[in-house]
Symmetry: D2
Subunit: 140 residues, 4 copies
Amino acid sequence: MLDPQISERINASFGRQKLMQFYGAHIEQIDHGSIAIAVPPTDFLLRTSGIFHGGVIAALADTAGGYAATTLYPEDVSFLTIEFKVNFLRQAKGEMLIAKATVIKGGATITVAQTDLFIRNNDQEAQVATSLITLIKASK
Amino acid sequence: MLDPQISERINASFGRQKLMQFYGAHIEQIDHGSIAIAVPPTDFLLRTSGIFHGGVIAALADTAGGYAATTLYPEDVSFLTIEFKVNFLRQAKGEMLIAKATVIKGGATITVAQTDLFIRNNDQEAQVATSLITLIKASK
Amino acid sequence: MLDPQISERINASFGRQKLMQFYGAHIEQIDHGSIAIAVPPTDFLLRTSGIFHGGVIAALADTAGGYAATTLYPEDVSFLTIEFKVNFLRQAKGEMLIAKATVIKGGATITVAQTDLFIRNNDQEAQVATSLITLIKASK
Amino acid sequence: MLDPQISERINASFGRQKLMQFYGAHIEQIDHGSIAIAVPPTDFLLRTSGIFHGGVIAALADTAGGYAATTLYPEDVSFLTIEFKVNFLRQAKGEMLIAKATVIKGGATITVAQTDLFIRNNDQEAQVATSLITLIKASK
């Protein structure tokens, strides 16, 4: 089980992220090496056709990847994204957008995370995107 | 020179994009195969350290790439992003964030654009990110 | 179970790939939507330090992704790679390099595969790379 | 102009790369922050249709990006590829494949290079691929 102090620290950090507040995002689950973040379909996050904007999906993928990396550390660390890549698989239309990030490889310098993104409708999830995120631990 | 009708059509389409409105984005330049979009450093687009959020940079890169693709067509077309990849090169702190997108290869099905992103301070620009965007022409 | 005709067709196609012959590659497993390809550590595929060259890993990732896509079709199809991205996670040194490709999303036009790469030593596997491959079905 | 010692060092290192020897690759040009590497269309580097294999293009893109990074240093340095991404733009069929790599951003830890790839026919070049390569300086 994840150390409650890590969970608390991540929740506090997440609460300070203005972009995530603006998105109406909340953390659904935190574990060692993984996190799930959910975003409801607020009007300004959608294209005129009602699907989530790709830029919103990408921002969420990146953010979730970074937080997944911090779950591996007892101390307060932060990560910078070196680069990321996202593939859009299906149009993202539904009741909730969820980003599930997992650390594939933690390292002293470089950490790689994968974030898969899903749309939830009537408790069923369909994958709408996948992404790989390369992170570097920032010195404090 | 770019057909004024294309320019008008793109400006109208851009005006309907809620995410871009929310960002306070405006088009600085449109040419055949390229576009430049600028975003001012509004509070909620920044990290607590005052630099633009990577997710904002990525969303702008993607959006600019898609609009660059539409400049090649006289008729009303739209593009879907299949995937994109962004490398962050420097922390993006300054008076204006500018995305300059260029079509590298237009095609009947697949179009590839490159978006370079810059921070402008005192009329000087420093590159903060680069990205490659793969697009597919959407059927209407 | 996979239709034996599909398996036969893929084996025949693989046998005609000169680069794969040159690598000494062989197919370890074929299923519906997935394939595993193995390459032994022949001298010219290695860096001077004895690890597999990143370019060899990338070529194998791409090839495996394309073959995984063809397993979904009863007829003879071929795929072109639009783009791919690979993350190197660990130095790839050992008895065998194995690429395990899975189709994440098949589609009428665009198919996306993920290839994870492993080094096998004494029957134990360690992941050395991961990749995402975007493919388009080629017309015959 | 590039320090002749750097040029000599890179040529010597390139001469030890078995995969590049196998490809029949040679360096066409070295400058501060850039390099061009050429590969002739030997049979085993081609698909049955006579076009260069995507895996060969990718390996060349990666290799050229790494060497471009080393041109920035007077001392003997080596770079590891963290990740790279390549977009294939046109079928690569012709007399010579040339990779032109340029450092976009050098840094103490992370270096980013872009490699554009061209096919040369009758002294004319057409771009066949573009790629972004993220590198980390290896400790010796």
